[in-house]
Symmetry: C2
Subunit: 731 residues, 2 copies
């Protein structure tokens, strides 16, 4: 396939090594911003575009990182070809010029906290066809200037700002590297802090400080932007997260550049040792205690079966969809359509799907910990924190890698390379099967079985210590499976304890002096289902136990599926119940199957966990979108972010819960499904120093959408279809 | 690897084609018994041991079925080498001779309904080592003779029956082909039945009758063995299940050979047409509506990394376990051990794991349907109904196939070939990962990621219309994932309806005149966890919401993990609750980790469904093992089958629920975990005529079992490790 042969000129970010300060202080979650604010653009024409930051001798491990990655021509430097294509480099540069010549900002360019495509109205996108001119291209900008939030819409065709709103909500945009600089400078110049570091025996050269989000806990913290600085020792380990300097938090007012308070509560808690924390392959001196595995790979000698047109339009088997990276949402799937199994007609399934917010509350109420309740998408950005995927390990061979084009604080375009991969998965699974013995008239025994091949689009966000792996998997039978995997490192707490004592710890001892603090992860997905078009209804089908009213049969009970078309939002605020089960259908009331069933999809929850916090606990108020597992709202272009547009220190007045409580009509409307996938995590020793991946999934499954099994005619595997392989290290 | 080169003499079953009667009447669930009672043993030395039953010209599809399957030497005809090895051919023959010379049966050999290894006492197995003599080999026999159940233990070393119990419970053993013959003969010779068939316009040559289990519904049905005969038309389709003759049930007393009653309630319900029901690949005349997929395969040019010694002992990576097929349980995993990641010591995880029962109640109370509440393991057998897996489709290339050796009603050995496959899975997933930017002292950016390769043991039971795919998947990080997949065909009901009408149907219209009746599937697993030895405790860890007692911090609430070592069985009867979550640990109280955590595993439920039936509804009483999702019982060799040893028409006096209600001590005992995986199924058009696979899983996950992440030292994939492949159809 041609897409695998033509690497093209690429953009990379080279860190300015002159910025010694930033190299000394590694900033949890904000490292990327360092890069954003200090990167240059250089054009390469090599296949390997990684710019090693190290001058050390090459190790075997480097070969992974330098494995060639194949892609189609990068379109960031050409014109957009689809209404939903992200802004191009030229468009970002144009927006930057428009902003810098905008009167209110003349002479002092604002700090750009978000600059991305202001997607056109849905109707414009639905009516658009290839060959048509694109709807007007606009940028939505969140900027910080003069201690105010500015929300701008920049019309790139008109060359002007067409909307400017100040302080649209209580929250603030994500903090910038400049904010972090202020916080760190204030911290380092504080005498009490310095004394404490010295008293704890940490060398300043080993000091790594991070700036976890501060949350919002009432009026005391109002009217000022706060940062809470926490530090670690990186002595002897790249895994500084495992060496916390416990009981020392510096609270900084970043607008004033002043330390408000130092919490130095526990000077006697030792810093955990680092010897057992290095997880890098190059640091392992023994093979694992197991028999080595022979080479194994998903092989496709003719290349993968999908194509990606114009950088974003994925076509595979019976699916097509638009795929892009977003600085906040990470991976965004738009306009997912599947061909009808009888007519071949492309039919709409989902207008847009993405992870809207990610809430991570920790279960520790002490002064150093109570505020830790991250909202990773809105505070840090799932795309912003996604680093390049590792070929052959994060994604199998024959993966296609896609870059993210994001924007720095000074409004310049920035390429985050290879943060999405797309690949076909064959895991040895069975799509459908049936065996039967011969029956009269059909003398052959029946052994029908079809292999399952799927298409996966993946991204991994490294939001500081944690790694979140997002998979969107498309099946030929119409099912979409969304999987979230958690790996990376625990957020740990130092303790004097060397052995387990079950009382009074907010988690579990996972190594000497290291507590893995108990916590949750909630990922809330925005799923704008458009089943055969935007006008849909949400049907709750309760499986209700009934008593047998008849004496004719001795059966006492059964359950019956009772359909209820939901009229208003509040009736679509749903908590899942094992003993009061329901199905959750999205149907198109205007389109029926041959036998009169409305065409539809259902969401199939699998394992899940719910937030247990009090509804009026500040973190829960801000993340009230996790109060239910399912919500359905009418489509509203301005209701994309479940925790609100401005999340940092937000009070929770702009969440999905607030919108839904308006109780708007949702029957036969353009409606959006929200689903929250949760994990409770009580850590264990196996999670130390890096966690084996834990996953959870949900499915979007066709329901009377097709007239019958849509892959009935699928081809089985034949021996002659499969490749002939040899091992490269066979002699 | 040598195991892939030496196919050996094999046993096959050739159906006696002379038995015309059995070919005319295909018997739902009992087809295999037909084969059992009419098969001969013939030794082949060819690699392809399938004996085509058809004389038709070969189609392309045949090539799948004839793809060579590689295996190790079949050990069924040699001596057993492990205390848990199934009985060999010689042993079965010896047992048959012992039974036939046993006085009570002299002159009339009983009908054998089960004859399998009576596993030695656990202590004998645990103390046994390779090289030691095997503990005494014994067969456990369930026989039917003189209208009585006989439970025999045959000592093969002593050459005699050492135990003989009559009628050990209220239920009966599975019915035999002789029973079915009686029922069918009674049905066919019934004038009313014949008239009804003629009136419905069905040719007798198209008639296919099945004998669904009759359940047990009170004293009226006591003291006699009952069979309920239901028929279909196979005219024009191999998928007769989709063409029910609705409203006609013949109830037969099989001991008397008499029709008790004919239910002919709905003579006017049309038989659904068959044109759209043929799912065989050879019958499809068009390609599917999708772009064709390029060849894709899990490739291992050096072969798989596992070995299977003596036919049953699987060794792979850090795992070893004993694997066998069982006529009732299907796939059985025994003595699963994993190497310690630090010391290499093999450590016990699970003594025995298998699907103990499978309960499938249908949600229709009418006379023709109310009794359908299958208990597939005890009534039919998951191994008995497992047919040969289809190479390249049911299992990927490089799979190892294992046969089942079962016993016919006349006590003769019978090989069911290739019903288990074992393969390594690589699905492109990530075992663990972390990305980080350079920090001081470590100049290279961190991009650590490890591919996930697992080992799968799979079986697919075709219990009549439904196909159940059982996967046991072993991960190198110690996790065991159990997955059940459902495919095959719906159990459908004829209806005059041609278009959907939401009222008064017990399911959903899935095609013209075809209702997919709503139903559940519950698979109850017996999981005899032995974490570092048999003495374990069950710990319920409740995640309990607490209010913040302190005013020092503004956080209001959090949850805390509260451990409770469960003392007695009743406190281990657990219903899962989303808003009252718990973890469920099996720990070894005698073995602690370096930092004092007891070594353990936890069960991680994922998606699940609970039975909604009244607790006193007869099907629920018989399947009371589904009253909870989790139970823990003390180990008892005689408590293996959750629905009781004798299930057919059982009343429920010998179920897991009854045992557990004895409320025995379980703390620091040899204990067994029972977990039920449930599915609710409201059918839809996509399930017609054959269902895309639906899956559900649960995990057994190490918990402070290892000192730290056990695969920290795992090797990443390097490009030079992977194979070089070409497509066979590349020119």
């Amino acid at each position: 396939l041609s897409i695998f042969n033509k690497p093209s000129p690429r953009l990379v970010c080279l860190r300015e090594s002159s910025n010694g300060f930033l190299f000394t202080l590694s900033l949890d979650f904000l490292l990327l911003h360092c890069c954003f604010s200090s990167c240059k653009f250089i054009v390469f024409s090599s296949k390997t575009y990684f710019q090693p930051t190290s001058k050390t001798r090459k190790t075997k491990f480097d070969s992974i990182l330098e494995t060639p990655i194949f892609k189609v021509n990068n379109t960031f430097d050409s014109s957009p070809s689809h209404p939903l294509d992200p802004l191009t480099i030229q468009e970002i540069n144009k927006a930057q010029i428009i902003i810098s010549s905008y009167k209110p900002f003349l002479g002092s360019f604002p700090s750009i906290r978000s600059l991305s495509l202001d997607e056109p109205e849905k109707i414009q996108v639905l009516n658009w066809k290839y060959g048509n001119p694109l709807p007007p291209r606009r940028a939505l900008v969140i900027a910080w200037a003069n201690d105010q939030v500015h929300l701008l819409i920049v019309d790139l065709n008109l060359g002007q700002i067409i909307s400017h709103v100040q302080n649209p909500g209580s929250g603030y945009p994500p903090i910038s590297i400049d904010d972090v600089r202020v916080a760190i400078r204030a911290t380092l110049s504080n005498e009490e802090f310095n004394k404490s570091i010295v008293a704890r025996g940490v060398n300043f050269s080993d000091l790594v400080c991070t700036t976890p989000s501060s949350g919002w806990f009432g009026p005391e913290e109002e009217g000022k932007r706060i940062m809470k600085v926490r530090c670690y020792s990186s002595q002897g380990t790249p895994s500084f997260y495992m060496r916390p300097i416990e009981g020392l938090i510096v609270i900084v007012d970043i607008d004033k550049g002043e330390v408000i308070k130092i919490l130095d509560t526990s000077p006697k808690i030792p810093i955990p040792y680092g010897e057992n924390t290095d997880y890098r392959y190059t640091s392992q001196d023994m093979p694992p205690q197991m028999e080595p595995l022979n080479p194994i790979s998903i092989e496709q000698p003719k290349g993968p079966s999908f194509t990606i047109e114009n950088g974003h339009n994925v076509k595979w088997a019976n699916w097509d969809f638009h795929l892009k990276a977003d600085q906040r949402a990470g991976i965004v799937i738009s306009r997912a359509r599947i061909r009808d199994s009888e007519t071949g007609e492309p039919r709409s399934v989902m207008y847009k799907g993405f992870a809207s917010e990610l809430f991570v509350p920790y279960m520790d109420i002490d002064e150093n910990w109570y505020f830790r309740s991250y909202m990773d998408a809105g505070e840090f950005g799932l795309g912003a924190t996604a680093m390049s995927l590792v070929p052959l390990n994060d994604c199998p061979r024959y993966s296609y890698f896609m870059d993210g084009l994001f924007v720095t604080a000074d409004g310049k375009p920035f390429v985050q390379p290879n943060i999405i991969c797309v690949f076909e998965r064959y895991a040895g699974d069975i799509s459908w099967r049936h065996s039967d013995l011969p029956i009269h008239g059909f003398e052959e025994r029946i052994r029908e079985s079809r292999p399952k091949v799927t298409l996966v689009a993946r991204m991994a966000a490294s939001v500081g210590n944690y790694d979140y792996i997002f998979d969107w998997e498309f099946q030929t039978d119409g099912l979409i499976r969304v999987t979230v995997g958690l790996s990376g490192m625990l957020m740990v707490k130092g303790t004097p304890q060397n052995s387990t004592n079950e009382d009074d710890i907010f988690g579990a001892l996972v190594s000497e002096n290291v507590i893995g603090v108990a916590h949750d992860h909630f990922i809330t997905f925005h799923l704008d289902m458009d089943i055969d078009g935007p006008i849909n209804s949400f049907v709750k089908v309760d499986l209700v136990k009934e008593e047998n009213p008849s004496t004719k049969t001795p059966r006492k009970s059964y359950w019956k599926a009772k359909r209820q078309v939901i009229e208003k939002e509040k009736d679509a605020q749903i908590k899942l119940k094992l003993y009061e089960p329901s199905e959750f259908h999205f149907i198109n009331p205007l389109r029926k199957s041959r036998i009169g069933n409305p065409t539809g999809y259902k969401i199939v929850p699998k394992g899940n966990a719910a937030s247990l916090l009090d509804l009026d606990d500040p973190p829960q108020v801000r993340s009230a979108f996790t109060n239910n597992q399912i919500w359905v709202t009418p489509y509203n272009k301005f209701e994309q972010w479940a925790g609100g547009l401005l999340v940092y220190q937000s009070k929770g007045e702009d969440t999905l819960a607030v919108w839904s409580n308006r109780n708007r009509e949702i029957k036969e409307k353009d409606i959006v499904l929200w689903y929250t996938l949760g994990f409770h995590h009580v850590p264990c020793q196996e999670d130390f120093p890096v966690m084996p991946t834990v996953t959870s999934t949900f499915d979007l499954k066709p329901l009377n959408f097709f007239e019958r099994n849509p892959i009935l005619r699928a081809r089985p595997n034949f021996d002659e279809d499969l490749p002939v392989c040899r091992s490269t290290n066979l002699n």
